[in-house]
Symmetry: C2
Subunit: 138 residues, 2 copies
Amino acid sequence: MFSIGELSKRTKVKVPTIRYYEEMGLLAAPERTAGNQRRYTNEGLERLSFIRHARDLGFSIEAISSLIELQNHPDRSCEAATEIAEGQLSEVRAKIKRLKALENELKRIAQGCDGRGVAEDCYVLASLADHDLCGRDH
Amino acid sequence: MFSIGELSKRTKVKVPTIRYYEEMGLLAAPERTAGNQRRYTNEGLERLSFIRHARDLGFSIEAISSLIELQNHPDRSCEAATEIAEGQLSEVRAKIKRLKALENELKRIAQGCDGRGVAEDCYVLASLADHDLCGRDH
DNA sequence: TGTAGTGTCTCTAGTGACTAGAGGTTCAAG
DNA sequence: CTTGAACCTCTAGTCACTAGAGACACTACA
């Protein structure tokens, strides 16, 4: 049995965030002391580690909810879990793709100006003002 | 002179977003008709195009504010603009790096389970529960 | 047993960059 | 002159937290 602060230290999830997860229904409401403070068991620790790990991988609270729901019914098919993970994977891939395009564009823009001139002639500002100066679509 | 709806069409920025930019001080408050409706000139169009282009490239409202401030003082050094663009570039690169790590991890997790089993034995769920199953740090 | 200091409680509000909706007014076309 | 679309302001909601206020609880030490 440990306090919310202790749980926070062990999982590296901030105290208000733990309470937030409880409010969002991700984390079961734990027992309380006579003085109304939360007291967690190892189960709470494991659950919170799961949540944190999934958040680190970019899963939304909603997706995590579904995964936890599934965890609570070990007899169900895990198809949904695989789908969620694959959905997340393709989202990540799409983001990478988009960011790479941005990277190219920004590289081009930033290289166009050495910062030694004056705002009037700045290639950075000109590029932003005029989309036609862009290499590709974005 | 055109209405906010017309400006919206031409720039592909939604009407409430235009009003939001005005409120945030990115876009100068335009003239109004006798009936209190906004009327824009080409200047407003150009300014909004600039903003939209910068937003598309991921610049924050705050960064755009600084860029616009610079645009309004064409005699100033454009060092700041170059710095902002380079800052944005390194942020984008950092994001790409992080997302690639996530991609690998998710790929590994998603591949570990074909979705045909039962939640109890699901590798996706197991991986999320147990960080030790992860390949690398994240 | 008293007390000091830290931890915890709930509640509200703020973040960024919008988006949605209510309820009312104005414009342009026919 | 009427109709209907576009416009106005204002408030509240989104996501995943974060910050702060003001009050109460726990623990260590005297």
